[in-house]
């Protein structure tokens, strides 16, 4: 029954265009994600909207994380340890839907992304494995 951690995790980096939220990412993104959680309180959302940079100053994010937050660069935020369900507090505060925010990570316009979804979504063919190219 026992499997090693590295065996279990080994293929997680082999999926094109995907960052699996592993414990490594969870640790890297700790303060970034905790900052996002703070936006669940209306009073914090107000302070945030009033002055984003000032609000961020209270949190132990790296400079790169702060820049990416201010730029709403969601792919970069994933690379810096963000998780989409935490980041959702940020784009929800912006009044964005999941489709709007998620589309920004695909290099497509939101209209093109919506059209792709209406046509049945992105096919898994060719994006299952970097190594295998399947």
């Amino acid at each position: 029954m026992h499997r090693s951690v590295s065996d279990y995790m080994s293929e997680f980096d082999d999926i094109p265009g995907t960052r699996v939220y592993t414990t490594r990412r969870a640790r890297q993104g700790y303060w970034l994600n905790q900052f996002c959680m703070s936006l669940m309180k209306p009073e914090n959302r107000e302070r945030w909207r009033a002055d984003e940079a000032a609000y961020l100053a209270d949190w132990k994010l790296t400079d790169a994380q702060k820049e990416a937050v201010l730029a709403r660069d969601y792919n970069r935020l994933l690379d810096l340890g963000g998780n989409i369900y935490y980041l959702a507090k940020l784009f929800s505060t912006d009044g964005q839907s999941f489709v709007q925010a998620v589309s920004t990570m695909t290099g497509m316009s939101v209209e093109d992304y919506k059209a792709m979804m209406m046509a049945g979504g992105r096919s898994p063919d060719g994006v299952r494995s970097i190594r295998e190219g399947t």
Partner: protein, 281 residues
Amino acid sequence: MARLTAGIATSHVPLIGVAIDQGKTEEDYFKPIFAGYEWTKEWIRKPENKPDVVILVYNDHASAFDMNLIPTFAIGCAEEFEPADEGWGPRPVPVVKNDADFAWHIAQSLIIDEFDMTIINKMDVDHGLTVPLSAMFGQPDAWPVKVVPIAVNVVTYPVPSGERCWKLGEAIARAVADYPEDLKVQIWGTGGMSHQLQGPRAGLINQEWDQKFLDDLTADPQRLRSIEAIEYLRETGSEGIEMVMWLIMRGALQGDVRELHRHYHVPASNTALGHIVLENA
């Protein structure tokens, strides 16, 4: 004696909640989404089908739990649970009432049965739990069923395997059968089906894989137990892993089941929406 009468699975896409809350269910985009729930809404309303309690398996999406607390399996034992504020204010839905006697019973039975549950006595519940209630019951003043929440970590890896989830379902069935009160119980598995909410691969949908999964809930459920996390990730997108929660429901039903109703629609937001109603054959 409490009886497990049926199992239901459904996606819990936030947008379904938004459409109901904002009265958009008749719009073109939403019509086919909600059409597929009509059968179930009618079926579950009938006295012979309506459960007293739903054991609702869902995942918290960084609402009640954050990076400071990651329970693999949590069970809510409080008297009630408020809808969470996920960044746009709490959903305008009724408070979720628990059957706390029953929930504590389940928690006890699972721990005796070697499941390392975390008991939670205070938490808000997010769209993962409230959207399925809205899809099944619409907009009542109060939910017509009590709800025992079981929250599964499917966000931070490693998440529990499909096999472990299946076994938890079996243990839930034993716990229900062991409850002395006369109670009609359903178990719901929520989340899924294929979707990916992140990165350049976002928007991935695998209809073939999803339909086979739906088929095999009746045709070959044993196959589903052994699907590994990496297969969900590759084939169904990074958020398709939520389907392990369907296996808790399926594990609880045990033996052969009959499919009473199926609904599958693409897209609901970024997601392949799936919904199925099963009862023991």
